[in-house]
Symmetry: C2
Protein backbone atom coordinates (compact mmCIF):
# COMPACT_ATOMS: atom_id res chain seq x y z
CA UNK A 1 0.00 0.00 0.00
CA UNK A 2 2.72 2.38 1.01
CA UNK A 3 4.67 1.54 -2.14
CA UNK A 4 1.57 2.05 -4.29
CA UNK A 5 0.91 5.44 -2.71
CA UNK A 6 4.48 6.40 -3.31
CA UNK A 7 4.28 5.32 -6.95
CA UNK A 8 1.06 7.23 -7.45
CA UNK A 9 2.59 10.26 -5.80
CA UNK A 10 5.64 10.02 -8.04
CA UNK A 11 3.42 9.65 -11.08
CA UNK A 12 1.44 12.72 -10.03
CA UNK A 13 4.63 14.69 -9.57
CA UNK A 14 5.94 13.65 -12.94
CA UNK A 15 2.69 14.52 -14.68
CA UNK A 16 2.64 17.91 -12.94
CA UNK A 17 6.16 18.55 -14.07
CA UNK A 18 5.29 17.45 -17.57
CA UNK A 19 2.32 19.84 -17.60
CA UNK A 20 4.37 22.69 -16.25
CA UNK A 21 6.97 21.91 -18.86
CA UNK A 22 4.45 22.37 -21.68
CA UNK A 23 4.22 26.12 -22.18
CA UNK A 24 1.62 25.80 -24.94
CA UNK A 25 -1.01 23.30 -23.73
CA UNK A 26 -3.74 24.50 -26.13
CA UNK A 27 -1.54 23.79 -29.12
CA UNK A 28 -1.53 20.39 -30.85
CA UNK A 29 1.93 18.82 -31.05
CA UNK A 30 2.14 19.74 -34.73
CA UNK A 31 4.58 21.75 -36.79
CA UNK A 32 3.68 25.30 -35.57
CA UNK A 33 4.17 24.45 -31.88
CA UNK A 34 7.43 22.71 -32.70
CA UNK A 35 8.63 25.67 -34.75
CA UNK A 36 7.82 28.13 -31.94
CA UNK A 37 9.60 26.11 -29.25
CA UNK A 38 12.61 25.43 -31.47
CA UNK A 39 12.88 29.17 -32.22
CA UNK A 40 12.67 30.17 -28.56
CA UNK A 41 15.31 27.59 -27.67
CA UNK A 42 17.60 28.96 -30.39
CA UNK A 43 17.43 32.58 -29.30
CA UNK A 44 16.97 32.32 -25.53
CA UNK A 45 19.35 29.54 -24.48
CA UNK A 46 22.76 30.74 -23.24
CA UNK A 47 25.45 29.28 -25.44
CA UNK A 48 23.22 28.84 -28.49
CA UNK A 49 24.95 30.15 -31.62
CA UNK A 50 21.76 32.14 -32.33
CA UNK A 51 21.48 33.56 -28.81
CA UNK A 52 19.82 37.01 -28.68
CA UNK A 53 20.26 39.35 -25.66
CA UNK A 54 17.06 39.99 -23.72
CA UNK A 55 16.87 43.65 -24.77
CA UNK A 56 16.65 42.59 -28.43
CA UNK A 57 13.96 39.96 -27.97
CA UNK A 58 11.16 41.99 -29.51
CA UNK A 59 7.97 40.21 -30.63
CA UNK A 60 5.15 42.02 -32.43
CA UNK A 61 1.55 40.80 -32.70
CA UNK A 62 -1.23 41.94 -34.94
CA UNK A 63 -4.51 42.12 -32.99
CA UNK A 64 -7.66 41.61 -35.13
CA UNK A 65 -7.73 37.99 -36.29
CA UNK A 66 -4.41 37.21 -34.58
CA UNK A 67 -5.10 37.75 -30.87
CA UNK A 68 -8.87 38.17 -30.93
CA UNK A 69 -11.57 37.38 -33.49
CA UNK A 70 -12.62 39.77 -36.26
CA UNK A 71 -15.90 38.36 -37.59
CA UNK A 72 -18.56 39.25 -38.64
CA UNK A 73 -16.59 42.53 -38.81
CA UNK A 74 -13.74 44.25 -36.93
CA UNK A 75 -14.96 44.70 -33.36
CA UNK A 76 -14.03 48.37 -33.47
CA UNK A 77 -16.59 48.69 -36.28
CA UNK A 78 -19.23 47.14 -34.02
CA UNK A 79 -18.20 49.63 -31.33
CA UNK A 80 -18.66 52.52 -33.79
CA UNK A 81 -22.12 51.24 -34.78
CA UNK A 82 -23.13 50.98 -31.12
CA UNK A 83 -21.90 54.53 -30.58
CA UNK A 84 -24.07 55.80 -33.47
CA UNK A 85 -27.12 54.30 -31.76
CA UNK A 86 -26.18 55.88 -28.41
CA UNK A 87 -25.44 59.30 -29.93
CA UNK A 88 -28.39 59.38 -32.35
CA UNK A 89 -30.73 61.39 -30.07
CA UNK A 90 -28.17 64.24 -30.08
CA UNK A 91 -27.95 64.08 -33.89
CA UNK A 92 -31.43 64.35 -35.41
CA UNK A 93 -29.74 65.17 -38.76
CA UNK A 94 -28.39 61.60 -38.94
CA UNK A 95 -31.87 60.37 -39.92
CA UNK A 96 -31.24 61.72 -43.42
CA UNK A 97 -27.48 61.40 -43.63
CA UNK A 98 -25.45 58.36 -44.70
CA UNK A 99 -23.92 56.22 -43.38
CA UNK A 100 -25.79 57.06 -40.16
CA UNK A 101 -29.32 56.72 -41.54
CA UNK A 102 -28.73 53.16 -42.76
CA UNK A 103 -26.88 52.17 -39.58
CA UNK A 104 -29.84 53.37 -37.53
CA UNK A 105 -32.18 51.34 -39.76
CA UNK A 106 -29.90 48.31 -39.30
CA UNK A 107 -29.02 48.15 -42.99
CA UNK A 108 -25.24 47.80 -42.87
CA UNK A 109 -24.63 46.86 -46.54
CA UNK A 110 -26.18 50.16 -47.62
CA UNK A 111 -24.42 52.04 -44.81
CA UNK A 112 -21.05 50.89 -46.07
CA UNK A 113 -21.82 51.13 -49.78
CA UNK A 114 -19.92 54.43 -49.72
CA UNK A 115 -16.71 52.53 -49.01
CA UNK A 116 -13.79 54.22 -47.31
CA UNK A 117 -15.52 57.59 -47.15
CA UNK A 118 -18.47 56.13 -45.22
CA UNK A 119 -16.12 54.41 -42.82
CA UNK A 120 -14.18 57.64 -42.20
CA UNK A 121 -17.41 59.54 -41.54
CA UNK A 122 -18.43 56.87 -39.08
CA UNK A 123 -15.05 56.81 -37.34
CA UNK A 124 -14.75 60.56 -36.99
CA UNK A 125 -18.32 60.97 -35.72
CA UNK A 126 -17.78 58.36 -33.02
CA UNK A 127 -14.06 58.61 -32.15
CA UNK A 128 -13.30 62.36 -32.23
CA UNK A 129 -14.47 65.52 -30.49
CA UNK A 130 -13.77 64.48 -26.91
CA UNK A 131 -10.75 64.34 -24.61
CA UNK A 132 -8.59 61.22 -24.55
CA UNK A 133 -9.78 60.57 -21.00
CA UNK A 134 -13.44 60.78 -22.00
CA UNK A 135 -12.82 58.43 -24.93
CA UNK A 136 -11.02 55.98 -22.68
CA UNK A 137 -14.04 55.86 -20.39
CA UNK A 138 -16.40 55.31 -23.35
CA UNK A 139 -14.30 52.34 -24.49
CA UNK A 140 -14.08 50.93 -20.95
CA UNK A 141 -17.86 51.09 -20.56
CA UNK A 142 -18.49 49.50 -23.95
CA UNK A 143 -15.99 46.67 -23.56
CA UNK A 144 -17.44 45.85 -20.13
CA UNK A 145 -21.03 45.57 -21.38
CA UNK A 146 -21.14 44.84 -25.14
CA UNK A 147 -21.62 41.28 -26.35
CA UNK A 148 -20.58 39.59 -29.57
CA UNK A 149 -23.59 39.21 -31.94
CA UNK A 150 -23.03 35.47 -32.54
CA UNK A 151 -21.49 34.03 -29.36
CA UNK A 152 -23.06 36.54 -26.92
CA UNK A 153 -19.72 36.59 -25.13
CA UNK A 154 -17.85 39.71 -24.02
CA UNK A 155 -15.36 40.77 -26.70
CA UNK A 156 -12.53 40.28 -24.23
CA UNK A 157 -13.50 36.59 -24.15
CA UNK A 158 -13.26 36.34 -27.95
CA UNK A 159 -9.49 36.02 -27.66
CA UNK A 160 -7.44 33.03 -28.75
CA UNK A 161 -6.30 30.89 -25.83
CA UNK A 162 -3.29 29.48 -27.74
CA UNK A 163 -2.11 33.02 -28.46
CA UNK A 164 -2.49 34.07 -24.80
CA UNK A 165 -0.29 31.10 -23.93
CA UNK A 166 2.18 32.15 -26.61
CA UNK A 167 2.36 35.71 -25.22
CA UNK A 168 3.07 34.32 -21.76
CA UNK A 169 5.62 31.82 -23.04
CA UNK A 170 7.55 34.49 -24.94
CA UNK A 171 7.55 36.86 -21.97
CA UNK A 172 8.72 34.05 -19.67
CA UNK A 173 11.54 33.58 -22.21
CA UNK A 174 12.65 37.20 -21.90
CA UNK A 175 10.70 38.69 -24.82
CA UNK A 176 9.03 42.08 -24.77
CA UNK A 177 5.65 41.68 -26.49
CA UNK A 178 4.03 44.46 -28.52
CA UNK A 179 0.67 44.78 -30.25
CA UNK A 180 1.00 46.32 -33.73
CA UNK A 181 -2.52 46.67 -35.07
CA UNK A 182 -4.50 48.54 -37.69
CA UNK A 183 -7.02 49.14 -34.91
CA UNK A 184 -7.13 52.44 -33.09
CA UNK A 185 -4.48 52.69 -30.39
CA UNK A 186 -6.81 54.41 -27.94
CA UNK A 187 -9.52 51.84 -28.63
CA UNK A 188 -7.13 49.03 -27.63
CA UNK A 189 -5.20 50.39 -24.65
CA UNK A 190 -8.09 50.53 -22.14
CA UNK A 191 -8.50 46.72 -22.11
CA UNK A 192 -5.33 45.19 -23.59
CA UNK A 193 -3.23 45.41 -20.44
CA UNK A 194 -5.70 43.31 -18.47
CA UNK A 195 -6.49 40.84 -21.26
CA UNK A 196 -3.05 40.31 -22.85
CA UNK A 197 -0.73 41.54 -20.09
CA UNK A 198 0.68 44.17 -22.46
CA UNK A 199 1.07 47.70 -21.01
CA UNK A 200 -0.19 50.72 -23.01
CA UNK A 201 3.32 51.80 -24.02
CA UNK A 202 3.69 48.49 -25.90
CA UNK A 203 0.51 48.97 -27.93
CA UNK A 204 0.98 50.50 -31.39
CA UNK A 205 -2.03 51.24 -33.57
CA UNK A 206 -3.70 53.61 -35.96
CA UNK A 207 -4.50 57.03 -34.59
CA UNK A 208 -6.23 60.31 -35.22
CA UNK A 209 -4.63 63.68 -34.60
CA UNK A 210 -4.86 65.35 -31.21
CA UNK A 211 -4.38 68.83 -29.78
CA UNK A 212 -3.22 70.08 -26.41
CA UNK A 213 -5.93 72.17 -24.85
CA UNK A 214 -5.25 74.32 -21.80
CA UNK A 215 -8.50 75.66 -20.41
CA UNK A 216 -8.79 77.20 -16.95
CA UNK A 217 -5.27 75.93 -16.21
CA UNK A 218 -6.39 72.34 -16.66
CA UNK A 219 -4.82 70.67 -19.67
CA UNK A 220 -6.60 68.09 -21.78
CA UNK A 221 -5.72 66.23 -24.97
CA UNK A 222 -8.55 66.56 -27.46
CA UNK A 223 -9.19 64.03 -30.25
CA UNK A 224 -9.54 65.69 -33.67
CA UNK A 225 -11.49 64.38 -36.68
CA UNK A 226 -8.37 63.91 -38.80
CA UNK A 227 -6.32 60.81 -39.52
CA UNK A 228 -2.81 60.63 -38.12
CA UNK A 229 -1.30 57.19 -38.75
CA UNK A 230 -2.68 54.11 -40.48
CA UNK A 231 -0.83 51.24 -38.88
CA UNK A 232 -1.43 48.71 -41.65
CA UNK A 233 0.60 47.17 -44.50
CA UNK A 234 3.73 49.36 -45.13
CA UNK A 235 2.60 51.40 -42.12
CA UNK A 236 3.42 48.55 -39.75
CA UNK A 237 7.20 48.37 -40.20
CA UNK A 238 7.29 52.19 -40.23
CA UNK A 239 5.34 52.38 -36.97
CA UNK A 240 7.53 49.67 -35.44
CA UNK A 241 10.64 51.61 -36.41
CA UNK A 242 9.20 54.85 -35.09
CA UNK A 243 7.91 53.44 -31.83
CA UNK A 244 10.27 50.59 -30.94
CA UNK A 245 13.38 51.61 -32.87
CA UNK A 246 14.46 48.01 -33.13
CA UNK A 247 13.56 45.31 -35.65
CA UNK A 248 11.47 42.50 -34.13
CA UNK A 249 12.88 38.97 -34.20
CA UNK A 250 9.41 37.42 -34.13
CA UNK A 251 6.14 38.62 -35.67
CA UNK A 252 2.62 37.23 -35.73
CA UNK A 253 -0.22 38.12 -38.08
CA UNK A 254 -3.15 36.74 -40.03
CA UNK A 255 -3.75 38.92 -43.08
CA UNK A 256 -2.21 40.80 -45.98
CA UNK A 257 -2.08 43.82 -43.67
CA UNK A 258 0.70 42.03 -41.79
CA UNK A 259 2.81 41.11 -44.81
CA UNK A 260 5.28 43.98 -44.60
CA UNK A 261 5.74 43.52 -40.84
CA UNK A 262 6.60 39.86 -41.47
CA UNK A 263 8.96 40.79 -44.34
CA UNK A 264 10.68 43.39 -42.16
CA UNK A 265 11.01 40.94 -39.27
CA UNK A 266 12.32 37.98 -41.22
CA UNK A 267 14.94 39.82 -43.27
CA UNK A 268 17.01 40.88 -40.27
CA UNK A 269 20.13 38.96 -39.31
CA UNK A 270 20.01 35.85 -37.12
CA UNK A 271 17.14 33.58 -36.13
CA UNK A 272 13.68 34.90 -36.97
CA UNK A 273 10.12 33.64 -36.55
CA UNK A 274 7.17 34.65 -38.73
CA UNK A 275 3.79 33.07 -38.04
CA UNK A 276 0.44 33.42 -39.75
CA UNK A 277 -2.83 32.41 -38.12
CA UNK A 278 -4.96 30.87 -40.89
CA UNK A 279 -8.69 30.88 -40.12
CA UNK A 280 -9.75 27.37 -41.16
CA UNK A 281 -12.30 26.38 -38.53
CA UNK A 282 -15.88 27.23 -39.44
CA UNK A 283 -17.16 25.14 -36.55
CA UNK A 284 -15.41 26.64 -33.55
CA UNK A 285 -14.59 29.96 -35.21
CA UNK A 286 -14.78 31.13 -38.84
CA UNK A 287 -13.13 29.94 -42.06
CA UNK A 288 -11.94 32.66 -44.46
CA UNK A 289 -8.88 33.83 -46.33
CA UNK A 290 -8.41 35.02 -49.93
CA UNK A 291 -11.90 36.39 -50.56
CA UNK A 292 -12.77 37.80 -47.18
CA UNK A 293 -13.72 41.47 -46.75
CA UNK A 294 -12.30 41.30 -43.23
CA UNK A 295 -8.79 39.96 -42.61
CA UNK A 296 -8.13 39.09 -46.25
CA UNK A 297 -5.23 36.63 -46.45
CA UNK A 298 -4.00 36.23 -50.01
CA UNK A 299 -0.54 37.57 -50.89
CA UNK A 300 0.74 36.89 -47.38
CA UNK A 301 -0.43 33.27 -47.64
CA UNK A 302 1.50 32.79 -50.88
CA UNK A 303 4.57 34.46 -49.43
CA UNK A 304 4.33 32.43 -46.22
CA UNK A 305 4.41 29.23 -48.26
CA UNK A 306 7.23 30.44 -50.51
CA UNK A 307 9.36 31.53 -47.56
CA UNK A 308 8.54 28.67 -45.18
CA UNK A 309 6.93 30.92 -42.59
CA UNK A 310 4.93 29.07 -39.96
CA UNK A 311 1.24 28.78 -40.83
CA UNK A 312 -1.23 27.85 -38.09
CA UNK A 313 -4.16 25.83 -39.39
CA UNK A 314 -6.56 26.78 -36.59
CA UNK A 315 -8.74 23.71 -37.08
CA UNK A 316 -5.91 21.20 -36.84
CA UNK A 317 -3.21 22.98 -34.85
CA UNK A 318 -5.23 24.38 -31.94
CA UNK A 319 -6.87 22.10 -29.34
CA UNK A 320 -8.83 25.01 -27.92
CA UNK A 321 -9.60 28.31 -29.63
CA UNK A 322 -11.53 30.40 -27.09
CA UNK A 323 -11.04 30.30 -23.31
CA UNK A 324 -14.79 29.69 -22.84
CA UNK A 325 -14.78 26.40 -24.81
CA UNK A 326 -15.45 23.30 -22.75
CA UNK A 327 -12.56 20.96 -23.40
Amino acid sequence: MKVLMKSLFTLLLISNVAMAADPLPSWMDTAPKKAIIAFVDRVAKEGSPDFVPVAERIATFDNDGTLWAEQPMYFQGLFAIDRVRVLAPQHPEWKDKEPFASILRGNLPVAFAGGERSIMELVMATHAGMSTEEFEQIVRDWIATARHPKTKKAYTEMVYKPMLELLGYLRASGFKTFVVSGGGVEFMRPWIEKVYGIPPEQVIGSSIKTKFDLQHGKPAIIRLPELNIIDDKEGKPLAINHHIGRRPIAAFGNSDGDLQMLQWTTTGKGARLALIVHHTDDGREWAYDRNSMVGRLDRALDEAKARNWTIVDMKNDWKTIFPFEMN
Copy 2:
Protein backbone atom coordinates in the same frame (compact mmCIF):
# COMPACT_ATOMS: atom_id res chain seq x y z
CA MET B 1 45.39 44.91 17.25
CA LYS B 2 42.63 42.45 16.59
CA VAL B 3 40.11 44.83 18.17
CA LEU B 4 41.41 47.71 16.09
CA MET B 5 41.09 45.66 12.92
CA LYS B 6 37.59 44.73 13.87
CA SER B 7 36.67 48.37 14.54
CA LEU B 8 38.14 49.46 11.26
CA PHE B 9 36.26 46.69 9.53
CA THR B 10 33.01 47.72 11.20
CA LEU B 11 33.63 51.34 10.28
CA LEU B 12 34.24 50.32 6.69
CA LEU B 13 31.02 48.32 6.63
CA ILE B 14 29.00 51.19 8.07
CA SER B 15 30.41 53.67 5.61
CA ASN B 16 29.64 51.28 2.74
CA VAL B 17 26.09 50.90 3.97
CA ALA B 18 25.75 54.66 4.34
CA MET B 19 26.98 55.16 0.78
CA ALA B 20 24.64 52.52 -0.56
CA ALA B 21 21.81 54.17 1.35
CA ASP B 22 22.30 57.49 -0.43
CA PRO B 23 20.84 57.02 -3.88
CA LEU B 24 21.85 60.53 -5.00
CA PRO B 25 25.44 61.10 -3.85
CA SER B 26 26.17 63.87 -6.36
CA TRP B 27 23.30 65.95 -5.03
CA MET B 28 23.74 68.41 -2.17
CA ASP B 29 21.39 67.79 0.75
CA THR B 30 19.25 70.73 -0.32
CA ALA B 31 15.58 71.10 -1.22
CA PRO B 32 15.59 69.35 -4.65
CA LYS B 33 17.14 66.14 -3.33
CA LYS B 34 14.75 66.15 -0.39
CA ALA B 35 11.77 66.71 -2.69
CA ILE B 36 12.79 63.83 -4.97
CA ILE B 37 13.29 61.36 -2.12
CA ALA B 38 10.07 62.43 -0.40
CA PHE B 39 8.15 61.96 -3.66
CA VAL B 40 9.60 58.49 -4.31
CA ASP B 41 8.78 57.47 -0.75
CA ARG B 42 5.19 58.68 -1.18
CA VAL B 43 4.50 56.76 -4.40
CA ALA B 44 6.65 53.64 -4.01
CA LYS B 45 6.18 52.62 -0.37
CA GLU B 46 3.52 49.95 0.19
CA GLY B 47 0.85 51.33 2.49
CA SER B 48 1.48 54.96 1.60
CA PRO B 49 -1.82 56.79 0.90
CA ASP B 50 -0.25 58.01 -2.36
CA PHE B 51 1.05 54.57 -3.41
CA VAL B 52 1.21 54.11 -7.20
CA PRO B 53 1.35 50.62 -8.80
CA VAL B 54 4.61 49.88 -10.61
CA ALA B 55 2.96 49.87 -14.05
CA GLU B 56 1.88 53.50 -13.55
CA ARG B 57 5.26 54.79 -12.37
CA ILE B 58 6.11 56.62 -15.58
CA ALA B 59 8.86 59.25 -15.53
CA THR B 60 9.70 61.39 -18.58
CA PHE B 61 12.96 63.26 -19.12
CA ASP B 62 13.82 65.94 -21.60
CA ASN B 63 17.32 65.35 -23.03
CA ASP B 64 19.11 68.53 -24.20
CA GLY B 65 19.96 70.61 -21.13
CA THR B 66 18.30 68.11 -18.78
CA LEU B 67 20.33 64.91 -19.21
CA TRP B 68 23.23 66.20 -21.27
CA ALA B 69 24.59 69.68 -22.04
CA GLU B 70 23.34 71.87 -24.89
CA GLN B 71 25.95 74.64 -25.22
CA PRO B 72 27.31 76.27 -27.31
CA MET B 73 24.44 74.78 -29.37
CA TYR B 74 22.33 71.62 -29.45
CA PHE B 75 24.76 68.76 -30.03
CA GLN B 76 22.62 67.49 -32.90
CA GLY B 77 23.33 70.83 -34.61
CA LEU B 78 27.07 70.21 -34.19
CA PHE B 79 26.52 66.75 -35.69
CA ALA B 80 24.76 68.29 -38.70
CA ILE B 81 27.60 70.79 -39.21
CA ASP B 82 30.15 67.98 -39.06
CA ARG B 83 28.10 66.06 -41.63
CA VAL B 84 28.13 69.05 -44.00
CA ARG B 85 31.93 69.06 -43.86
CA VAL B 86 32.08 65.30 -44.53
CA LEU B 87 29.56 65.44 -47.38
CA ALA B 88 30.87 68.64 -49.01
CA PRO B 89 33.08 66.88 -51.62
CA GLN B 90 29.96 65.18 -53.00
CA HIS B 91 28.12 68.54 -53.15
CA PRO B 92 30.20 71.08 -55.08
CA GLU B 93 27.03 73.19 -55.40
CA TRP B 94 27.13 73.88 -51.64
CA LYS B 95 29.99 76.34 -52.17
CA ASP B 96 27.44 78.85 -53.44
CA LYS B 97 24.38 77.77 -51.50
CA GLU B 98 23.32 78.82 -48.00
CA PRO B 99 23.43 77.70 -45.28
CA PHE B 100 26.09 75.28 -46.56
CA ALA B 101 28.49 77.89 -47.96
CA SER B 102 28.75 79.75 -44.66
CA ILE B 103 29.01 76.52 -42.65
CA LEU B 104 31.92 75.44 -44.85
CA ARG B 105 33.58 78.83 -44.30
CA GLY B 106 33.00 78.43 -40.53
CA ASN B 107 30.70 81.43 -40.36
CA LEU B 108 27.78 80.07 -38.34
CA PRO B 109 25.98 83.38 -37.58
CA VAL B 110 25.58 83.97 -41.32
CA ALA B 111 24.71 80.32 -41.92
CA PHE B 112 21.80 80.54 -39.50
CA ALA B 113 20.68 84.05 -40.43
CA GLY B 114 17.96 82.38 -42.51
CA GLY B 115 16.33 81.12 -39.30
CA GLU B 116 14.09 78.08 -39.35
CA ARG B 117 14.37 77.61 -43.11
CA SER B 118 18.17 77.39 -42.94
CA ILE B 119 17.95 74.89 -40.12
CA MET B 120 15.47 72.73 -42.06
CA GLU B 121 17.73 72.78 -45.14
CA LEU B 122 20.62 71.70 -42.97
CA VAL B 123 18.66 68.94 -41.23
CA MET B 124 17.21 67.48 -44.40
CA ALA B 125 20.55 67.52 -46.25
CA THR B 126 22.26 65.66 -43.42
CA HIS B 127 19.51 63.48 -41.89
CA ALA B 128 17.50 62.22 -44.90
CA GLY B 129 18.09 60.22 -48.06
CA MET B 130 19.51 57.08 -46.48
CA SER B 131 18.11 53.98 -44.78
CA THR B 132 17.50 54.01 -41.04
CA GLU B 133 20.30 51.47 -40.64
CA GLU B 134 22.76 53.63 -42.56
CA PHE B 135 21.79 56.65 -40.49
CA GLU B 136 22.22 54.68 -37.28
CA GLN B 137 25.77 53.78 -38.31
CA ILE B 138 26.56 57.42 -39.16
CA VAL B 139 25.40 58.50 -35.69
CA ARG B 140 27.33 55.66 -34.00
CA ASP B 141 30.53 56.65 -35.79
CA TRP B 142 30.10 60.33 -34.99
CA ILE B 143 29.27 59.88 -31.31
CA ALA B 144 32.30 57.57 -30.93
CA THR B 145 34.75 60.06 -32.40
CA ALA B 146 33.43 63.63 -32.15
CA ARG B 147 34.59 65.89 -29.31
CA HIS B 148 32.91 68.85 -27.65
CA PRO B 149 34.43 72.13 -28.89
CA LYS B 150 35.07 73.51 -25.37
CA THR B 151 35.76 70.53 -23.10
CA LYS B 152 37.23 68.24 -25.80
CA LYS B 153 35.28 65.41 -24.18
CA ALA B 154 33.10 62.89 -26.01
CA TYR B 155 29.49 64.07 -26.09
CA THR B 156 28.45 60.98 -24.15
CA GLU B 157 30.62 62.29 -21.29
CA MET B 158 28.82 65.64 -21.34
CA VAL B 159 25.97 64.11 -19.33
CA TYR B 160 24.91 65.18 -15.85
CA LYS B 161 26.06 62.77 -13.17
CA PRO B 162 23.26 63.76 -10.75
CA MET B 163 20.70 62.99 -13.45
CA LEU B 164 22.25 59.59 -14.19
CA GLU B 165 21.92 58.84 -10.48
CA LEU B 166 18.32 60.03 -10.56
CA LEU B 167 17.50 57.75 -13.52
CA GLY B 168 18.97 54.78 -11.65
CA TYR B 169 17.22 55.70 -8.39
CA LEU B 170 13.83 55.95 -10.08
CA ARG B 171 14.31 52.64 -11.92
CA ALA B 172 15.39 50.96 -8.67
CA SER B 173 12.12 52.31 -7.23
CA GLY B 174 10.02 50.64 -9.93
CA PHE B 175 9.78 53.52 -12.39
CA LYS B 176 9.94 53.14 -16.16
CA THR B 177 12.08 56.01 -17.47
CA PHE B 178 11.48 57.64 -20.86
CA VAL B 179 13.33 60.30 -22.81
CA VAL B 180 10.94 62.84 -24.37
CA SER B 181 13.09 65.21 -26.38
CA GLY B 182 12.87 67.74 -29.19
CA GLY B 183 15.95 66.02 -30.59
CA GLY B 184 15.67 63.50 -33.41
CA VAL B 185 14.60 60.09 -32.17
CA GLU B 186 16.99 58.28 -34.52
CA PHE B 187 19.82 60.59 -33.49
CA MET B 188 19.34 59.61 -29.84
CA ARG B 189 18.60 55.90 -29.90
CA PRO B 190 22.03 54.67 -31.08
CA TRP B 191 23.77 55.85 -27.87
CA ILE B 192 21.07 56.44 -25.24
CA GLU B 193 20.69 52.81 -24.19
CA LYS B 194 24.36 52.54 -23.24
CA VAL B 195 24.64 55.99 -21.66
CA TYR B 196 21.31 56.32 -19.79
CA GLY B 197 20.20 52.68 -19.58
CA ILE B 198 17.03 53.53 -21.52
CA PRO B 199 16.07 51.13 -24.36
CA PRO B 200 15.11 52.54 -27.79
CA GLU B 201 11.39 51.85 -27.28
CA GLN B 202 11.46 54.31 -24.36
CA VAL B 203 12.98 57.13 -26.39
CA ILE B 204 10.50 59.62 -27.88
CA GLY B 205 11.72 62.43 -30.09
CA SER B 206 11.16 64.51 -33.17
CA SER B 207 11.19 62.61 -36.44
CA ILE B 208 11.13 62.90 -40.19
CA LYS B 209 8.87 60.82 -42.43
CA THR B 210 9.99 57.42 -43.69
CA LYS B 211 8.96 55.02 -46.43
CA PHE B 212 9.06 51.24 -46.69
CA ASP B 213 11.22 50.26 -49.62
CA LEU B 214 11.24 46.70 -50.92
CA GLN B 215 14.02 46.27 -53.45
CA HIS B 216 15.23 42.86 -54.62
CA GLY B 217 13.16 41.27 -51.84
CA LYS B 218 15.18 43.10 -49.19
CA PRO B 219 13.16 45.66 -47.29
CA ALA B 220 14.60 48.90 -45.98
CA ILE B 221 13.15 51.95 -44.25
CA ILE B 222 14.24 55.10 -46.06
CA ARG B 223 14.43 58.51 -44.36
CA LEU B 224 12.57 61.21 -46.32
CA PRO B 225 13.30 64.98 -46.32
CA GLU B 226 9.97 65.85 -44.72
CA LEU B 227 9.09 66.61 -41.10
CA ASN B 228 6.91 64.14 -39.24
CA ILE B 229 6.64 65.11 -35.55
CA ILE B 230 8.11 68.01 -33.60
CA ASP B 231 8.37 66.73 -30.06
CA ASP B 232 8.53 70.09 -28.35
CA LYS B 233 6.15 72.33 -26.34
CA GLU B 234 2.53 71.14 -26.95
CA GLY B 235 4.03 68.30 -28.98
CA LYS B 236 5.46 66.70 -25.85
CA PRO B 237 2.24 65.78 -24.05
CA LEU B 238 0.76 64.72 -27.41
CA ALA B 239 3.75 62.46 -28.14
CA ILE B 240 3.63 61.07 -24.60
CA ASN B 241 -0.05 60.27 -25.02
CA HIS B 242 0.54 58.70 -28.43
CA HIS B 243 3.57 56.68 -27.44
CA ILE B 244 3.06 55.82 -23.77
CA GLY B 245 -0.72 56.10 -23.46
CA ARG B 246 -0.38 56.97 -19.80
CA ARG B 247 0.20 60.27 -18.02
CA PRO B 248 3.61 60.46 -16.33
CA ILE B 249 3.70 61.00 -12.57
CA ALA B 250 7.14 62.63 -12.74
CA ALA B 251 8.69 64.84 -15.43
CA PHE B 252 12.04 66.57 -15.76
CA GLY B 253 12.98 69.43 -18.06
CA ASN B 254 15.00 72.61 -18.32
CA SER B 255 13.34 74.93 -20.81
CA ASP B 256 10.10 76.44 -22.08
CA GLY B 257 9.91 73.49 -24.47
CA ASP B 258 9.16 71.31 -21.46
CA LEU B 259 6.42 73.50 -19.98
CA GLN B 260 3.44 71.61 -21.42
CA MET B 261 4.91 68.24 -20.44
CA LEU B 262 5.25 69.49 -16.88
CA GLN B 263 1.71 70.93 -16.91
CA TRP B 264 0.33 67.64 -18.25
CA THR B 265 2.24 65.63 -15.65
CA THR B 266 1.38 67.72 -12.62
CA THR B 267 -2.36 68.09 -13.28
CA GLY B 268 -3.10 64.37 -13.01
CA LYS B 269 -4.52 62.92 -9.81
CA GLY B 270 -2.30 61.88 -6.90
CA ALA B 271 1.30 62.66 -6.06
CA ARG B 272 3.29 64.31 -8.87
CA LEU B 273 6.83 65.57 -9.29
CA ALA B 274 7.91 68.29 -11.72
CA LEU B 275 11.55 69.34 -11.76
CA ILE B 276 13.40 72.00 -13.73
CA VAL B 277 17.17 72.01 -14.15
CA HIS B 278 18.24 75.68 -13.99
CA HIS B 279 21.64 76.34 -15.59
CA THR B 280 23.31 78.63 -13.05
CA ASP B 281 26.93 77.49 -13.05
CA ASP B 282 29.15 79.36 -15.49
CA GLY B 283 32.25 77.83 -13.93
CA ARG B 284 31.59 74.11 -14.20
CA GLU B 285 28.96 74.37 -16.96
CA TRP B 286 27.09 77.36 -18.41
CA ALA B 287 24.73 79.94 -16.93
CA TYR B 288 21.72 80.88 -19.04
CA ASP B 289 17.95 81.11 -18.90
CA ARG B 290 15.51 83.80 -20.11
CA ASN B 291 17.58 85.26 -22.93
CA SER B 292 19.31 82.16 -24.26
CA MET B 293 18.95 81.09 -27.90
CA VAL B 294 19.41 77.49 -26.76
CA GLY B 295 17.30 76.05 -23.96
CA ARG B 296 15.45 79.30 -23.24
CA LEU B 297 13.87 79.11 -19.77
CA ASP B 298 11.43 81.94 -19.20
CA ARG B 299 7.72 81.10 -18.94
CA ALA B 300 8.50 77.70 -17.42
CA LEU B 301 10.64 79.36 -14.74
CA ASP B 302 7.79 81.68 -13.77
CA GLU B 303 5.32 78.81 -13.73
CA ALA B 304 7.69 76.62 -11.73
CA LYS B 305 7.88 79.29 -9.05
CA ALA B 306 4.13 79.93 -9.07
CA ARG B 307 3.31 76.21 -8.81
CA ASN B 308 6.08 75.22 -6.43
CA TRP B 309 7.74 72.87 -8.87
CA THR B 310 11.22 71.75 -7.88
CA ILE B 311 13.96 73.95 -9.35
CA VAL B 312 17.53 72.67 -9.36
CA ASP B 313 20.09 75.45 -9.01
CA MET B 314 22.96 73.59 -10.67
CA LYS B 315 25.63 75.64 -8.95
CA ASN B 316 24.35 75.12 -5.44
CA ASP B 317 22.38 71.86 -5.61
CA TRP B 318 24.83 69.61 -7.49
CA LYS B 319 28.15 68.54 -5.95
CA THR B 320 29.33 67.20 -9.28
CA ILE B 321 27.99 68.07 -12.71
CA PHE B 322 29.96 65.93 -15.19
CA PRO B 323 31.29 62.42 -14.52
CA PHE B 324 34.78 63.54 -15.61
CA GLU B 325 35.08 66.19 -12.88
CA MET B 326 37.69 65.48 -10.22
CA ASN B 327 35.93 65.71 -6.88
